[in-house]
Symmetry: C2
Subunit: 336 residues, 2 copies
């Protein structure tokens, strides 16, 4: 690339757009589905239902300990596909770039997208690049949409939770949001804190293999675990009880939360999942989760009940209990 | 919606995000695939290949004669699916909204998305909303990704053009870009000019039905017809000759182009297509195109040749000829 900064012409659809595709994207993402560069990718499907999802990523800063916007854009969409039990297969990649954005940064992010796609075993098959004038967007926004294959007989949904079910959580809460917060505000107490941003499809694949009657899974991103559980309770018309002492939170994360008055139950995660399964399967499922690097700190954190439908109750460390509502207000913008 | 402006909390993933979904999106877009509101939509596929595409829309202004960013975001993605001969079926919808954006404008745009989706016979099945702080994005950006079904035996691609083929164009050039330009700069000479923004899938369906051996189709958006033809010539390793006198341009559009020194061959369109077909089918195909409201001004504008591969030559009105290169530089930013 001859220029060191993105120009408006890189989004013109003309010569410089083609150069960007040929020199920056194709060398990394080349695959038989992308290669024809037609207006749509033509992909061969498997039989059975398709999972389809989308997310835009506006995280600030673009680079942070544990990842960057590129890794996030792949993992987030892979995880959304995984949560309904689909095997993520194909991603689209659409960039909105601010004029003047350093091409070296774009290269780093493209590299990171490539690495994350490899890690998650998905292919980027179609894309788009828009450039807006300086000041019309803050550096870079990314959208990924994703397609996955749903195996026969698998039907995970937030509407499936039943009284008696157990609630599992795959690891400690808050690392992603606290990392972004610390980076943005320049806090010194970061310690070993880093984003948990990771593709969960391998973990999910193993969970489904060993426990095909899992009712539902969700990754507690924006709004945190509290909002996620409220969504499921509401859609399944059930109540939930969660034990605070069972919820894993890293020591360093807990310290920051106490200092800033944040509740880890409302913080965004990018590599964690909550799962709900029938009681008879919970121990085996916990074993499967703990046997995976991304689930080694998994815990059974609560249960689904018939009482107080659509409400989640937290049994607190000090022996009381309180209603755990969904997030109200904006805890922190642009965390993903 | 109690508030008249979008707040950061509308993108928090919490209570206000849910309100936005429940009160603004679901009442318009409700369908069985979207309704579960799980992390991904679960859709039932047909057999055969899938088409998959994405585009982000950053058009400025958001509202313009002939459409708005919402209509554009549906039509653009529907058209990208149509161009490889797919039947558009499902769209994702992802919004990046600037804090403070008027909810009344958002409602108008959601309405317009709904109307365009109805017109194109596609369903919105999954979505995402992000809100960024005031100044971090210019009002509203939209991403749509799309899935379509490719019929057995249909394989349109820019790589398929062959010497002897004819080139067709479905109508006059430049209306969309000139409309945006006029709106943005406050030009008075707008006349009856309006964007041609329209879903082409119905027209394409009829073209394929009556002429299944069409080689390829493209909608000349950014970069215009000149860039589109160069892309096909390059990928098919063929030359092309185009007759300027055959290329339809509205009188009003031609006037603006002459005044501003713009070339209609490089202007973006949002409801036109170029098609390439074998010579024996061209008259029948032209008839089919002219029989459709979106193709009534169709013309045979040129032919594919063996000579000067990867180059497009224009036979000009005054009897000369010149190489028609792809767009270099940025003619005009944020037209789509």
């Amino acid at each position: 690339m001859p220029d060191d900064k993105i120009l408006l012409a890189h989004g013109s659809g003309g010569k410089l757009s083609h150069d960007l595709i040929q020199q920056l994207f194709l060398p990394r993402f080349s695959n038989p589905f992308l290669q024809p560069l037609d207006d749509s990718a033509r992909i061969t499907n498997q039989t059975g239902p398709i999972a389809f999802t989308t997310d835009s990523y506006v995280v600030n800063p673009l680079f942070f300990p544990g990842g960057d916007i590129g890794r996030l854009a792949v993992c987030g969409t892979v995880n959304d596909l995984s949560m309904i039990g689909a095997i993520p297969a194909f991603l689209s990649l659409s960039l909105i770039i601010e004029e003047g954005f350093p091409i070296s940064d774009l290269k780093r992010i493209v590299s990171s997208i490539f690495d994350a796609a490899e890690e998650a075993n998905v292919q980027i098959v179609t894309g788009d690049t828009k450039v807006v004038e300086h000041g019309a967007a803050d550096k870079l926004f990314i959208n990924t949409a994703g397609i996955g294959w749903v195996k026969a007989g698998i039907h995970l949904s937030g509407m499936n939770a039943k009284p008696g079910d157990r609630i599992l959580l795959s690891g400690p809460l808050g690392d992603h949001e606290l990392t972004i917060l610390s980076q943005r505000e320049g806090f010194q107490f970061q310690g070993d804190l880093k984003s948990d941003c990771a593709p969960l499809n391998d973990l999910v694949g193993k969970m489904i293999e060993f426990s095909p009657s899992i009712r539902c899974m969700r990754d507690p991103t924006r709004g945190g675990l509290a909002t996620t559980l409220n969504e499921i309770a509401s859609k399944s018309n059930v109540g939930m009880v969660v034990e605070e002492e069972k919820i894993p939170v890293r020591e360093s994360a807990r310290g920051i939360c106490e200092l800033l008055g944040l509740d880890p139950l409302y913080l965004a995660n990018e590599g964690k999942l909550a799962a709900i399964c029938p009681p008879g399967e919970v121990e085996r499922l916990l074993g499967v989760m703990r046997g995976h690097p991304l689930g080694k700190d998994s815990q059974i954190i609560g249960r689904v009940i018939e009482e107080h439908p659509k409400k989640v109750v937290l049994h607190t460390l000090i022996g009381g209990h309180r209603i755990l509502d969904m997030l109200t207000g904006s805890q922190y913008p642009r965390i993903c």
